[in-house]
């Protein structure tokens, strides 16, 4: 019977969100329903607990970091526009980037912004650099108790050394992007159903 045009009216400020994030009408509606489904007590916003209830996210080693990215600057609630803005980073890249107006702000799902999202998963203190300590922390999250401290430190040291060009012992955002220039970011950081 087709996804209803009548329900899109429920989404507050839908046009602005669509312009900012580039989601199609159908995707936005889908995300709105998902937002409502996750918001169990019908508060109108999501809290950390709502996201932690998702089983597959709770078992994800980086689950807490991912949840953190929804709550920047210590905020405790995420409303629908902010929810969609974070998810917009994972929208597949548009085919026709050539015709983009250079005066408009970069779309949220550009390669740079995807990399920025990944960078801030590492950079907890938001100082623009991934220190060796921060690298260790993320590694520790991903391996749990399975790996010894020494092995983990050697992996972290090697990774920082390889990426670090100016020798300050930390990986800045530019160094991060340089070490990943051959990587197909568009594919690795895109969720297809979010067209």
């Amino acid at each position: 019977m087709g996804s209803g045009g009548s329900s899109a009216a429920q989404i507050p400020d839908a046009d602005n969100i669509r312009r900012e994030t580039g989601f199609s009408q159908a995707s936005l509606l889908r995300l709105y329903h998902r937002f409502r489904a996750l918001d169990r007590n019908k508060k109108g916003y999501l809290s950390r607990v709502d996201l932690q209830q998702i089983g597959a996210l709770a078992v994800n080693p980086l689950g807490d970091r991912i949840i953190d990215s929804f709550f920047p600057d210590g905020s405790l609630r995420v409303d629908f526009p902010d929810f969609v803005r974070v998810l917009a980073h994972f929208r597949p890249v548009d085919e026709d980037t050539g015709t983009r107006d250079p005066n408009e702000p970069e779309p949220l799902n550009s390669r740079m912004n995807k990399l920025r999202f990944a960078f801030q998963l590492y950079d907890l203190d938001r100082d623009g650099k991934i220190s060796r300590h921060e690298m260790l922390q993320v590694l520790r999250l991903m391996v749990g108790v399975q790996v010894t401290e020494e092995q983990l430190e050697s992996i972290a040291d090697r990774t920082v050394q390889e990426a670090d060009e100016d020798g300050d012992g930390a990986v800045s955002f530019l160094e991060f992007t340089k070490s990943l220039e051959k990587m197909n970011i568009e594919q690795k950081m895109s969720i297809r159903i979010l067209k």
């Binding site: 998702i54 078992v59 689950g63 991912i66 998810l87």
Partner: protein, 360 residues
Amino acid sequence: MEKGLSGLRGRDFELSDVFYFSKKGLEAIVEDEVTQRFSSEELVSWNLLTRTNVNFQYISLRLTMVWVLGVIVRYCVLLPLRVMLAFIGISLLVIGTTLVGQLPDSSLKSWLSELVHLTCCRICVRALSGTIHYHNKQYRPQKGGICVANHTSPIDVLILTVDGCYAMVGQVHGGLMGIIQRAMVKACPHVWFERSEMKDRHLVTKRLKEHIADKKKLPILIFPEGTCINNTSVMMFKKGSFEIGGTIYPVAIKYNPQFGDAFWNSSKYNMVSYLLRMMTSWAIVCDVWYLPPMTREEGEDAVQFANRVKSAIAVQGGLTELPWDGGLKRAKVKDTFREEQQKNYSKMIVGNGSLNSELG
């Protein structure tokens, strides 16, 4: 996981490995396997019930007229008939079992109680316009065994009891349910627990063991998922039922969603509104497959046995298998699952890392 993490070189840690986990995490936020199992299945084509039409949109006058006609038929013709039948069925059940309960224990009593149970359940199923198709009747659960099935709604019990008598296991309720429970237990031994007793797993196991040890008693009916799932998948079977011993008779129940949605979303609807929805659907059509009996093998623990039974039921019913616990809709997931993911990842980066350092 290996496929998702294929990098430029070997399997050492890469800065980009974080992409894999973050993508998985965000995918889970957009849609996860578990949450969607607790809402009704979406139909491919509409069956003229607004409740199953998620994206309502006006298409044509003719369709609306047909739908209005459907509403009239369902609410004004079918509903009163069904309510009447249900009333008759339940009253007969209560009266019948109380009368049979007066008799002294004998084979006559068990035969009569079976007759009463079967007749009343058949009336109640008719009250829902249930059309049930039984397959492989030769594997029907025998006395002294445990019958295990996937759970979609309280109606599962009715559907199974139409074809044979079972001893039910459950909590003592108040109200109408309580009256029915007390009446039923007079005629034949069911296993009803007080709420406080349910917490004590040893007590529960002991009573169930005693029940199946008596070969004259009816097979116990258990739903190991512990909660209602929407009939598209089978979730984790709790191992408690599989520790009792005895023969397990698996049964797969699959409803046909075209005629009516049988799933009970207990957070959305209470029992009365659920029954009303059932009685105003077109019909309840389902298939019941009896599977060959299974017993726990040597060296198999309860969890493995539970998974084996779960797979058999899922395959027969055409349902997907999920390792998740149905209780997730109320509680948090265990840390052991996260540790498994971490273990898999570590094996990859450290397993190869040490190899490289030996060569390099």
